[in-house]
Amino acid sequence: MKHYSAFAVAREALRSHTGWERAWRSPEPKKRYDVIIVGAGGHGLATAYYLGKNYGIQNVAIIEKGWLGGGNTGRNTTIIRSNYLQDPSAAIYEKSRSLYEHLSQDLNYNLMFSPRGVIMLAQTHHEVRGYQRTAHANALQGVPTEWIGPQRVKELVPIINLEGPRYPVLGGLWQERGGTARHDAVAWGYARACSAMGMDIIQKCEVTGVRQENGRVTGVDTTKGAIECEKLGIVVAGHSGQLAEMAGFRLPLEAVALQALVSEPIKPCMDVVVMANTVHGYMSQSDKGEMVIGGGTDGFNNYTQRGSFHHIEETVRALVETFPMISRLKMLRQWGGIVDMTGDRSPILSKTPLGNCFINGGWGTGGFKAIPGSGWGMAQLMATGHSPLTEAFSLDRFKEGRFIDESVAAGVAH
């Protein structure tokens, strides 16, 4: 793999950039691999990467039906934070966040991880109490967060309207080392590193069946033929249910559209990421200058990767109240992704009823931030059969009632 650096760019500039290599190879599938990962999204690629890096398992194929990074990894609003409430969540998201800190150097690919800080606004007394609770939990979980008052919020976000007529800003939960990264670069950086380890990323190849013998997985059928494997990792987000069906089990997941939108670019006016959960909207400003906006999921199940306009309207309306100046900006583009939601809104990283077949999914609306940590834990689980990071996220939890409910902080109004 050719090393990326300012020096390399300068050298290439002198020969019109003709010397750059492919970032990843485009191989035909081999007959057999030690491990096959289905889905070249962030989670699939990161799983493969840490299998190779941490466990020396490099005879790996990552099979992708479209283009790598083209699922939710390439459609999300890139918020990275780890101020989750429940212990298992805080553990995996914080592991992830801390991996992000050095990931550009690790992968030799600038992911533009930008710990610009994330504020979750409290706009009701109930939310104030919820976030104070989270701050207490985070302190014990080793996740640095801080409860801040309205004035500090205003200093950090000059464009915010503290005295909205409906929901005044009462403070916020502030994670200084949260932020954003460039989503495509995360997929590309991992893909390049996987390819450099000799792994095969096979794009435009859909997995259509899972082969098994005596309760163990033996390979997959694909649009490019059958491929054998020792172990299989299903990492396909919104399509988890379909793959599980091929493998012969069912998952407690539903697929819904989550939408996002961007404004036209403007000069920098907001440095931090702001989430306003009472009114269902969040916003950050990208390095290009676009205001990146997201909200809640559509209220019905679908697979179309586009959403209804109603949600966009609610989100924008809420954010115009929160940041009045955006009223005169324009929406440039809206899009949607299909997110896989579990009943407790926490992911599944687990063995499955099929031997040697593992699943990583259910990240729902918030799995971009988890990519490195999830890959790390999933690789450990697949390589060794156990990972403290993933243990609580096993499929059994639904049978046992051991939910990891993260919607708690936004519970009910009294």
């Binding site: 650096s5 009223s327 583009r333 939890r397």
Partner: protein, 1005 residues
């Protein structure tokens, strides 16, 4: 130079001068000008700077596809960045500023980026700025952020001075685009009698056709347009809107249109934008086609323009972009520009036709006008910095050698036409590649599908690839008729008007000019003018393996600018396909997403701003509370008084006063916000037995029971007192925040699982004003008001009666959430204020005071009563809270019962409800956790419990708290450690959760 001509200008009114300013300089134009045409008339070709290299940018198009001429418009609370000059209608006093430069448009420091361009190829930032790690956030990124962005951010503190509104429209056929195709389609549809809505984004009907020439029914196009518009205007079933853009098409025939009402006339009162939310049975997109630029070196120099745009400026606004023009083309249509220019008195120096065979009839006409046509020739390079100076000419075939030079000040380019397929594609319509015209057009066999599986969008005219006037009209006629029929119209067969235009020879695709341009040329051949993406960038992306069109787009930022690639996409695709040795249709397009052009956030939000953004729900007593010192707390959509402050009193002092007074004398609480659901029907009892963990079917009329409700996962989701009203009617109280949610929950079960049960649920929350009369003097005040017998014997605890109190018809419940003698009395909402007044008046001698939600919370915590949302958070089961007594053992089933039998739910290690008392009497921090020994496998401190409610109790003069603690009830008296985020660690003793009046003596009097 660009200048106003003495003739032409079909859209301007030369008798009405308009003055405006650009970057502080006052200029003049005419009514009917766009900002772009007026700037050109003032010889202001350069209108902005590009995004990445800060290159000088001139206007290149004349409509919505413009990527370059973006300005900041207006001032202060009416400032708006990134407005296209080409779609901004001129008005008196308009003030525009160009963008993305410092210190000014002519001299921009950022332009040094051009000098470094070779170091900044596509994706350079992924390869650089990696070390040292902290530098990205602190050094590189801030720099990149500042130089990126386009327009200025609106001022943070001023609120948008304009208003916005939404329209809801229902129509049989929606036609998007008011060119000749849209007009004819509308007419064909309307004649069948169906309802037609026709929208056009510009301020004029007729689209391009009046500029392009030709005849319709043997008359001029303008006349046809005038006639058909006046015909449509007289039809009752037709609604027409100008300045109204079809913005997006969504599932189920839902479409958005964006009407700009006062952008062109800011003095007019009323909303600025109107968002139309349309339900249409059928949609016809008659959105026309957009001309493609040609990719040659220097094609981004100000003065290089689309041939059609140049024609527009001359014909529509009487402005010529230059005095000596060179035309480069691969098709016949661009010859029309040459003819138009020549007839307007502008010098056309050369037509470079990349086709070896040259043009057809139009070429002959051009030659007859004395213009030189060079077949097989191409532009090797345009020279000039802020303005075109000269053109070097070479053969199209080849690498661009052996050049001839022509000095000129403008270049018209045409690479052929691409149908506007955006709206067709938004909702899943598919495209096919048309080899003859080298463009994608809608595939009629794969339209967007409605719920019935049939297509609901069709295409008419140029948008369908029917480019010649005659074809356009007949295609549109057929499309309008077909849409009307599909929408239920009665077939009439309107005849298509006869359109005639000059015959054209086929175009030949030219994706790069010259065909094998060498590297020095390719690094200067722009694809995306705004984002500075060049041919060499796309080729680099392909070389590096970013082969999917989506990868290329994202790696190079091609088509990601504010024009969303309207000019650049197809050219970029073709370059990519060539680099990959693939066919263009194999490479495919990126996804078309709404909106067609950007729409304001204000319009999306609509009317619901400020006070009417989620309007506040008010109880009948709201105004009284407001007048009497209420410190408001938002609860759901309600506002409730947190406490009532006396003059000069702090909120804390008010709470403490209320807490003591209610226990010692008499308190009044506005309990109207509590949810009240009537559940009625022969199966209502059976239904409630499933909804609640308790047995409700056996409750006797006249009696009340405290009920718990769980989700199907077993978690406690709501609680409240249920009263049986009569044989088949129950009234269920819910929490304030729960009313709508629980109503929906009940409906969901009734509609999806037990649809055959005979039960109705009605939410009557707002029908009643409900007042809690609480404290030792509660009975006295009611007796003083007189009426119903409220004695212990006549109205025992947990019963209710209908009757009169103080002359008010009411229902009195003897229930208590405070442990005091307490009645909740419901009167008709309209009588609420009068009843409250009567109570306050009569209560004077008994020490009456109103109390708020915080007092309510403290009183219940003193008694160890749980609060939904405090002790519960969606993960807590009744068993955790010691509420086993409320779980009926007699019932076979209730929602959550089976879930509660799962292994983790029965785990003895679950955290259980206890009381907590700090050793020193202080108040525990809210939301704090209790810690145990050591850490877990992930290095986190082991936690053994948490504080769920914590208050200062004025009655006990100490902090009291409730919490969930592992093995809590077995650990009474133990002291546990609770670290705060304030750096302190608190020590708390585990105690019984009932702190006050443990035997309930005060309540049962």
């Amino acid at each position: 130079m660009s200048t106003r001509l003495s003739k032409l200008g079909r859209l301007i009114d030369r008798t009405k001068q308009v003055s405006f300013s650009f970057n502080g300089t006052t200029m003049r134009g005419f009514a009917g000008d766009t900002l772009a045409s007026a700037l050109l008339a003032n010889d202001q070709m350069m209108m902005g700077r590009s995004f990445k290299y800060h290159r000088p940018r001139g206007v290149v198009a004349s409509g919505a596809e413009e990527p370059n001429a973006l300005v900041g418009l207006g001032e202060g609370s009416r400032f708006e960045p990134n407005q296209r000059a080409t779609t901004t209608e001129l008005f008196e006093g308009l003030s525009a500023k160009s963008q993305n430069h410092w210190p000014n448009l002519d001299f921009d420091i950022g332009a040094v980026n051009t000098a470094f361009a070779r170091f900044l190829p596509a994706g350079f930032y992924y390869k650089m700025f990696i070390h040292p790690q902290p530098f990205w956030k602190h050094v590189y990124e801030p720099f990149i952020r500042k130089s990126a962005g386009l327009g200025k951010a609106p001022d943070a503190e001023t609120r948008d001075a304009d208003t916005y509104e939404h329209f809801y429209a229902f129509t049989d056929v929606l036609i998007i685009g008011g060119g000749v195709a849209g007009l004819q389609a509308a007419k064909a549809a309307a004649l069948t009698g169906v309802k037609v809505l026709l929208v056009e984004q510009t301020a004029h009907w007729g689209g391009r056709a009046p500029v392009d020439g030709g005849t319709i029914d043997e008359g001029p196009v303008d006349k046809f347009v005038e006639q058909i518009v006046s015909e449509l205007e007289t039809m009752d079933n037709v609604t027409m809107r100008l300045r109204c853009m079809g913005a997006g098409i969504y599932d189920h025939g839902y479409a958005l249109a964006y009407e700009r009402l006062t952008d062109h006339a800011p003095q007019v009162a009323g909303p600025r934008h109107r968002l139309w939310r349309i339900r249409a049975k059928q949609i016809v997109t008659a959105t026309g086609a957009i001309e493609r630029p040609l990719s040659f070196a220097g094609n981004d120099v100000p003065g290089v323009m689309l041939a059609s745009a140049m024609r527009d400026y001359v014909v529509n606004w009487g402005v010529t972009p230059g005095e000596r023009v060179v035309v480069a083309t691969n098709n016949d249509d661009a010859y029309r520009t040459a003819i138009t220019l020549k007839n307007a008195g502008v010098d056309v120096l050369r037509i470079l036709d990349a086709r070896a065979s040259g043009g057809g009839a139009l070429a002959d006409e051009v030659r007859a006008l004395g213009i030189r046509v060079d077949p097989g020739k191409a532009i090797a390079k345009v020279s000039g910095g802020k303005r075109v100076k000269k053109v070097s000419i070479c053969n199209q075939e080849g690498i661009g050698g052996a050049r001839d030079e022509v000095s000129c000040d403008a270049v018209a380019m045409s690479g052929g036409w691409s149908p506007v397929v955006h709206l067709w594609s938004h909702c899943g319509g598919k495209l096919i590649w048309d080899d003859a015209q080298a463009h994608f057009r809608p595939d009629p066999d794969r339209p967007p599908l409605g719920a019935d599986g049939a297509g609901f969008v069709s295409v008419a005219g140029a948008a369908n690839g029917a480019l010649a006037l005659g074809e356009t009209l007949s295609d549109a006629n057929a499309a309008g008729l077909a849409a009307a029929k599909a929408a239920g119209g009665k077939a009439k067969r309107p005849k298509a008007p006869l359109g005639e235009s000059a015959a054209e020879l086929p175009m030949e695709p030219v994706w790069l000019m010259p065909a094998n341009a060498d590297t020095p040329l390719r690094v200067k051949s722009w694809l995306d003018f705004q984002n500075d993406v060049k041919v060499s960038d796309v080729q680099l992306a392909a070389r590096e393996g970013y082969e999917s069109v989506e990868h290329t787009k994202r790696y190079t930022t091609l088509g990601m600018a504010t024009d969303q690639g309207k000019l650049s996409n197809i050219n970029g695709l073709a370059i990519l396909a060539d680099a990959l040795n693939a066919e263009i249709p194999q490479v495919g397009t990126t996804t078309f997403r709404p909106p067609y052009t950007p729409i304001s956030m204000g319009a999306i939000g609509g009317e619901a701003r400020g006070e009417v953004f989620q309007p506040i729900r008010r109880t009948p007593l709201h105004d009284w509370h407001d007048r009497n010192g209420a410190d408001w707390e938002p609860v759901g959509h309600w506002r409730r008084p947190y406490a009532y402050q006396l003059p000069g009193e702090s909120v804390e002092a008010a709470v403490n006063r209320e807490v003591k007074n209610t226990r010692e004398n008499l308190g009044l609480l506005d309990a109207s916000t509590l949810g009240k659901l009537i559940v009625k029907g022969p199966d209502a009892g059976r239904f409630l037995d499933m909804m609640y963990t308790n047995m409700m079917s056996t409750l006797k009329p006249g009696k009340c029971r405290y009920g718990l409700m769980c989700s199907e996962n077993g978690f406690l989701i709501d609680d409240g007192v249920v009263a049986r009203i009569d044989e088949d009617t129950w009234l269920c109280h819910t929490t304030t925040g729960g009313a709508e949610r629980i109503h929906a929950h009940m409906e969901e079960w009734l509609q999806t699982e037990w649809w055959d049960w005979k039960v109705y649920v009605a939410n009557v929350t707002e029908q009643y004003a409900q007042v809690a009369v609480v404290g030792p003097n509660a009975r006295k005040v009611l007796e003083k008001l007189g009426g119903m017998d409220v004695s212990k014997e006549a109205l025992p605890f947990m019963e209710w009666r209908d009757g009169q109190i103080g002359g008010f018809d009411c229902r009195a419940y003897r229930i208590s959430f405070s442990g005091e003698l307490s009645y909740e009395i419901a009167v008709a909402a309209s009588r609420g204020q009068a009843f409250w007044d009567a109570l306050t008046e009569a209560g004077k001698e008994f020490g009456v005071m109103p109390y708020g939600t915080e007092c309510l919370h403290i009183l219940r915590a003193e008694k160890g009563f749980i609060m939904i949302g405090d002790e519960t958070d969606g993960t807590v089961i009744p068993q955790d809270l010691g509420l086993h007594w409320a779980l009926s053992k007699k019932k076979e089933d209730y929602l959550g019962k089976r879930a509660q039998q799962r292994s983790h739910m029965a785990d003895p290690d679950r955290w259980k409800l206890v009381g907590l008392e700090t050793v020193d009497g202080s108040v525990l921090p809210d939301g704090a956790y209790a810690v145990g020994e050591g850490t877990n496998a992930n290095g986190q401190r082991n936690m053994i419990g948490r504080v769920t409610s914590t208050y200062y109790s004025a009655n006990l003069d100490r902090g009291i708290a409730m919490g969930l603690v592992k093995h809590g009830p077995d650990r009474m008296g133990e002291v546990i450690e609770i670290p705060g985020t304030d750096g302190k660690s608190y020590k708390a003793k585990i105690v019984d959760p009932v702190f006050f009046d443990k035997d309930g003596e005060k309540q049962n009097v």
